[in-house]
């Protein structure tokens, strides 16, 4: 299984992280908690309302925008591998390949139309 070593890396780092916290619990003082100590910090005032509140819709719109661009990047990476280095379709080969260039131009143009649309709709406006 090719992914197994990566899982092992994650396991070793988790082990390290957990063991440092265990050491901290052994070495450190027992937490003597009082009601005031366990209160969320609000600059010295007693907290008003819960912190689980609704927040600005801009964050949601940004997340959608991010999804679009991130999926687009997933497509661009294979293209970059095909268009670079020594691959038969490489842009740097002689005579230079124009078809590969126009392929990505079409892709980026469609993306830019969407980008300009969201810009004009005011998604990037922060008040």
């Amino acid at each position: 299984m090719p992914g197994l070593p990566i899982l092992l890396f994650v396991a070793v780092s988790t082990f390290m992280a957990v063991s440092i916290i265990i050491v901290a619990h052994v070495v450190g003082p027992k937490a003597r908690s009082t009601a005031v100590k366990l209160m969320p910090y609000e600059s010295g005032m007693d907290p008003i309302h819960s912190a689980r509140q609704r927040f600005n819709i801009s964050f949601y719109l940004l997340a959608i925008e991010f999804l679009v661009f991130d999926v687009e990047l997933l497509f661009l990476y294979p293209w970059a591998v095909a268009a670079g280095g020594t691959s038969p379709t490489a842009l740097g080969r002689l005579p230079a390949e124009a078809g590969v260039f126009w392929a990505v131009m079409g892709f980026v143009t469609i993306l830019m139309i969407g980008f300009v649309y969201t810009w004009r709709k005011g998604v990037f406006k922060w008040n």
Partner: protein, 412 residues
């Protein structure tokens, strides 16, 4: 992969089966790496305090560990281990305790594929660059957990800001990393580093104007994506107390800092390998001395150590620049941070992408018009596909310069 690492071969020579040898090598590599990961921030925090002191006309730490205060980081670590580990009553206990682990592992993950020198990596992945970009963005999940689970308004604001900032900056960052991939034609970060051997103009940053701009865009975006000042809106002390880690204390709190400093090094290392020639000096000294590509074990060891020193020096200089920026520039407002990314850096990196794709075509058209039939696709040096290799292969001793593809074949 790990199959051809020195240790795996050593273990297999001792009669272990291939799978067991690979797993044993993995555990040893991971143990070395995780200790580096835990120790490096201590040094970097000391460095940060020294840099901050010097930039503000102070001395910085001077007491702990002699004249330069170089044990300050370790002293801080020992202090933090002894502190109480508290979770507020309003916090979501499980998420609150889990968040530091996610940040820790996400930041550590980048080091799995980071190449330290030619062949020196914990694990050579075919999609190493992609892996680093992907696993570093796991960190933001931990920060969102921390912000949301704390049950404090400062934390929530910090966490949401962080989420918005990091996901926005990830797009131009990945677009800028696309530039070296387009030049190299591979996402194997070790191969990307190998292609920049030889003279300094073989470094991807000097390949063309788009990569030069791309390097600076990448560096700006990388600084923002590891939430360093002037982009540290997630923990803006002057507005949000401490942002997403307001409610954390002791060793759990320090995990966020370990991750921040380790990530600084990771993004700087990525910039070094992708743009600044990785472990190469820029002058082919090792080739002249006959060390590069020499299969003798001492030659491999010497060139490996020299490469590691060069890589560390370049990466640490970039880390130093990040610290320098932090103590020189005032913090931006959140709307300025978002505007910088979405309205400027994102379109700029799209233009860089298209520009770099058009560059060989334009150069070819221009040079072919000047000298018909003798068009070329690069201005300085050989085209990427025809770049000479440091490896002393049979083809080279026969007087023929091998291409990258042939060299890769030889390595296999």
């Amino acid at each position: 992969m790990l199959n051809d690492s020195a240790m795996t071969r050593f273990l297999m020579a001792w009669g272990l089966s291939g799978d067991v040898a690979v797993l044993a090598t993995t555990v040893v590599h991971a143990a070395i790496l995780v200790h580096f990961f835990a120790a490096a921030p201590l040094v970097l925090i000391w460095l940060e305090r020294k840099v901050a002191g010097r930039l503000q006309d102070r001395l910085g730490p001077t007491r702990v560990g002699g004249r330069f205060g170089w044990l300050q980081g370790a002293a801080d670590g020992i202090k933090l281990v002894q502190k109480e580990d508290l979770a507020p009553a309003a916090a979501d206990s499980v998420l609150f305790r889990m968040a530091p682990y996610i940040v820790f592992i996400g930041s550590f993950g980048a080091f799995i594929a980071l190449p330290w020198s030619d062949g020196w990596t914990a694990m050579e992945l075919d999609a190493g660059l992609f892996f680093i970009l992907a696993i570093m963005s796991v960190e933001v999940i931990g920060v969102i957990f921390a912000g949301y689970a704390s049950g404090s308004k400062w934390s929530l604001l910090g966490g949401m800001r962080e989420a918005a900032q990091v996901v926005s900056y990830e797009v131009p960052m990945a677009l800028c990393c696309l530039l070296p991939v387009m030049l190299a034609g591979t996402v194997n970060i070790m191969e990307i580093g190998r292609m920049q051997s030889g003279w300094v103009w073989n470094w991807f940053v000097l390949h063309d104007p788009f990569c030069l701009i791309g390097f600076f865009v990448y560096f700006t975006v990388a600084t923002a994506s590891v939430k360093r000042a002037p982009f540290d809106l997630a923990e803006a002390e002057s507005e949000l107390v401490a942002g997403f880690h307001t409610e954390y204390s002791g060793i759990r709190w320090s995990y966020f800092f370990m991750a921040e400093y380790a990530s600084m090094f990771a993004v700087s290392g990525l910039a070094t390998v992708c743009f600044l020639g990785g472990w190469h000096l820029g002058v082919p000294v090792l080739e002249w001395l006959g060390l590069a590509g020499n299969p003798a074990w001492w030659a491999v060891a010497i060139s490996g150590v020299i490469g590691f020193a060069l890589f560390a020096a370049k990466s640490l200089s970039l880390v130093f620049v990040q610290m320098w920026i932090r103590w020189s520039l005032p913090r931006l407002r959140i709307d300025q941070v978002m505007t910088t990314c979405l309205k400027y850096l994102l379109p700029i990196s799209c233009v860089l992408l298209v520009g770099l794709a058009a560059w060989p075509l334009v150069i070819y058209a221009a040079t072919n018009a000047l000298q018909p039939g003798r068009g070329r696709t690069t201005l300085i040096g050989p085209a990427l596909g025809e770049r000479s290799a440091p490896a002393r292969t049979s083809a080279e001793s026969a007087g023929v310069t091998p291409t990258i593809a042939e060299r890769v074949e030889v390595r296999r």
